[in-house]
Point group: C2
Chain length 287, copies 2
């Protein structure tokens, strides 16, 4: 297991962590100041400042990407399939333009939440089938673009509205069906916030292995958690055994960035440089 205590070369900042403090170019500047080597930006942040200016700022600062957020949101009314596919092809192209190592897929929940305006449904199995079909339809374009797709299972509390893929095991089943030869084109993003509770966690991480573990995200689970979406904790402030989980992913062969992704009204209310400095400190002491 890597010793991260001496520096923060394996820290990546998911730019949603400070999205309320400034635009993406300001975040890239803050990372440069703090010698953070890598980021994982969100599409809406990129759209706001422009794809080309973002790509230029990434190159100028010598930044790596640890991922690009996000494609997905597959469940929708059938007549909206082209819209979904176009949207996801654009996400792949943007990820490629920015030099991301993978496009993270948040697959969406029931159609009325995944693509608002779609007919309401309670059929989670049907949504799951739409998700798998949708990922299948992305594979060709992703392959041509050389862009691996990382399915991110989300915590079961998001099953209805954000992602109906809710465990690593379920995500890996999809990977095995769509990419049985483990080509490296399809894998998972393992975020401790979503998976830490899973009794099958150790087995699923081992099953994923190097070729399916495309991204590793860290934050913490607070007790109490006061908001389902925006009350994630800074590493060390919660109950997740972060060292254990990093030990598991590294034992399975993962050797990439530990990407800090914290959605938190509390951390969004603090100065950007303070948040980045805290991420670096906790990366060294807790991750």
């Amino acid at each position: 297991m890597r010793d991260l205590s001496g520096d923060h070369r394996w820290l990546s900042l998911n730019t949603a962590t400070v999205r309320q403090q400034g635009d993406l170019l300001a975040i890239i500047d803050a990372c440069a100041r703090a010698e953070v080597r890598a980021i994982s930006p969100w599409r809406d942040q990129v759209a706001k400042v422009g794809l080309e200016p973002t790509a230029r700022a990434v190159r100028t600062n010598g930044l790596d990407l640890s991922g690009y957020c996000r494609g997905g949101m597959f469940a929708a009314d059938p007549e909206r399939q082209d819209e979904v596919d176009d949207d996801n092809r654009r996400a792949i192209d943007e990820a490629a333009e920015l030099g991301a190592p993978c496009l993270v897929l948040v697959v969406g929940g029931l159609p009325q939440f995944s693509r608002p305006g779609s007919a309401p449904s309670r059929d989670l199995d049907a949504a799951r089938a739409m998700v798998e079909d949708g990922i299948g339809r992305m594979l060709d374009h992703a392959g041509k673009a050389g862009m691996p797709l990382a399915i991110e299972p989300l915590h079961p509390m998001y099953a209805a509205d954000r992602a109906c893929v809710n465990t690593l095991g379920q995500a890996l089943d999809i990977c095995d069906r769509l990419d049985p030869d483990r080509t490296g084109r399809l894998g998972v993003a393992c975020d401790v916030y979503h998976v830490w509770w899973d009794p099958e966690l150790e087995a699923s991480i081992a099953r994923a292995g190097t070729d399916r573990l495309l991204a590793y995200h860290v934050c913490d689970w607070l007790v109490p958690t006061t908001d389902l979406l925006n009350d994630r904790g800074m590493m060390g402030d919660g109950v997740i055994d972060l060292r254990r989980i990093r030990g598991l992913v590294e034992a399975a062969g993962f050797a990439g960035y530990c990407e800090v992704e914290i959605f938190s009204q509390s951390w969004w209310s603090r100065p950007m440089d303070e948040v980045v400095a805290t991420c670096i400190d906790r990366h060294k002491s807790c991750v």
Copy 2:
């Protein structure tokens, strides 16, 4: 699958659903007025009005119980094991005195939340081991009292603070290890709120079968959910496919009460008779 639309003979009221509107004797009166045949009371409610007065009110009104809430909270500092075991033996005795068909076990999360004052820990595997040991220690007394124990897996969002048993599959694994002969003494309480998202739900319910399915709880999952604990929905107001899940448990042999258990600031703020009437209406139209 049973047709519940004509009457509410298979409705049971978990008395937490109206716990802020009156004490347990008032709730029993309301059930009698509405011809609700069964309840599932909580220990704190019983303690407040007394075990003997409760037992008398249950008998006088000819009520069934669909369960007794709750035993559990196993994870604790080792020196507190006697306290945990005494507490759980009392829960068994109370359940027997009230004529409950099972004692529901909410197993507890990490020790500092399960039994406050215990040493803080992030070791979920250790908590899970304490839970299994604790259930094992209850079996003898439960057997002598003729009181089946129903492990209730809670939603993964409660893994840290309320229950580290989070899927039916995990609960059934514990049952199989502690009661391999399926004696009927150990099983599960299946609450739709906790399990509806589970990709393994159908397989786990089938695996449970009649002899492990000791209780069936209904409510609904709201989108958005504004509070992790007290924002459960009335049946029909959310996204859970209630008919499908009841179909699964009945296909597995379950033929008992559908117990309405709703923790909700919204429903707690309405008159008790209105809430009971709404439960009856939704039981017929949505469950």
